[in-house]
């Protein structure tokens, strides 16, 4: 390079480059609302929680879900959607503790998911250091805590648990990639097929075991054919030590 700055770790991997973005920690999302499970005897869908975040800038954000040390209780970030120039809506699926509705679907009664948010830099702080790329775009505000990927954890096809490192407050970026479907022929006339679709949630045992659990997301009766049965596809995710993040 003829200008700017590049840093690598001892393995030669990029860790900083003024032409790329260094994501800075922005804060936590806040709870907005709960949506109950809905539907009827033909089709029903699990509920979810919505969180909101207002960013100091208009750039994109990356969210990490704090893992609860609760064994079989799990959660997952379902979507991150921009709702305004600097406002975001984050949908969380959570097993919670309550089932309801026509097929005993879960809805979360939990409002305490922890969602950490990082974003591209939007302004300089007036102190410290900042980096700009060759186009003059601000790419790093070195006064903000950078997003650090402590490790990448992988799951093979249909493997539900794996081992990760030891953390005080782990947070996860990524999807369980676990959309498995089941179709049962009930033999009942009219709508003989009972289809269930499951979505994965992250479960942490408080130690070093990370599990992608399943929760029933939708259930429907149909006259067929039944849904194609799907397994749990391989996935990889990032783990971040969130201890100390305000």
């Amino acid at each position: 390079m003829a200008y700017g700055i590049t840093c690598t770790n001892t393995s030669g991997q990029l860790t900083l480059d003024s032409e790329g973005f260094l994501l800075g920690y922005l804060g936590k999302a806040t709870f907005v609302s709960l949506t109950h499970a809905s539907g009827d005897s033909i089709f029903s869908q699990a509920g979810y929680a919505t969180y909101g975040f207002t960013s100091p800038g208009t750039g994109s954000i990356v969210c990490a879900l704090g893992l609860r040390a609760s064994g079989s209780s799990g959660a997952r970030i379902e979507s991150v959607t921009r709702t305004g120039s600097n406002t975001w809506s984050i949908r969380v699926i959570d097993t919670g503790t309550v089932t309801e509705g026509y097929n005993n679907l879960y809805w979360t009664n939990l409002t305490n998911a922890t969602i950490y948010v990082w974003g591209v830099p939007s302004s300089v702080s007036g102190y410290g250091a900042a980096l700009y790329n060759s186009a003059g775009v601000l790419t790093a505000d070195l006064t903000k805590r950078p997003m650090i990927f402590t490790e990448r954890v992988s799951f093979a096809d249909n493997v539900m648990s794996t081992t990760m490192g030891s953390y005080v407050k782990p947070a996860i970026v990524g999807h369980t990639n676990s959309f498995h479907n089941l179709a049962t022929d009930t033999g009942v006339g009219g709508t003989p097929w009972f289809n269930t679709q499951y979505k994965g949630v992250w479960e942490w045992d408080g130690s070093t075991t990370l599990t992608r659990g399943d929760i029933l997301n939708t259930a429907d009766h149909d006259d067929g054919p039944g849904l194609t049965t799907l397994g749990h596809a391989a996935t990889s995710v990032l783990i971040i030590e969130a201890n100390g993040l305000p």
Binding site: T15, S79, T81
Partner: protein
């Protein structure tokens, strides 16, 4: 440290050390509205580096192979929800 770059918090705690942190520099972020396809990431500055996508969508981290020419990744969002994808290089 004898080389590299460190970042300290305002209380003096080391939060980042360029020589020891895991690789994975985000070089681009893009937002995808529901159903939008054809979003393209290109990262010619980092040709030769391995790369992956960061997303809350499925699959989470996609390992990408760089070509010898212009590294380009095309992403589609088939979901009914908005998505953000970040491209990281190692």
């Amino acid at each position: 440290m004898a080389y590299g770059l460190q970042i300290l918090s305002n209380t003096g705690t080391l939060v980042w050390d360029s020589t020891t942190v895991n690789g994975g520099l985000v070089v681009d972020l893009k937002e995808f509205a529901p159903g939008v396809s054809g979003g393209v990431f290109s990262y010619p500055n980092w040709a030769g580096h391995s790369a992956f996508l960061i997303t809350n969508d499925s699959p989470s981290l996609v390992s990408l192979s760089t070509s010898s020419g212009m590294p380009v990744v095309t992403v589609a969002n088939s979901s009914t929800e908005g998505r953000e994808y970040a491209l990281a290089v190692l």
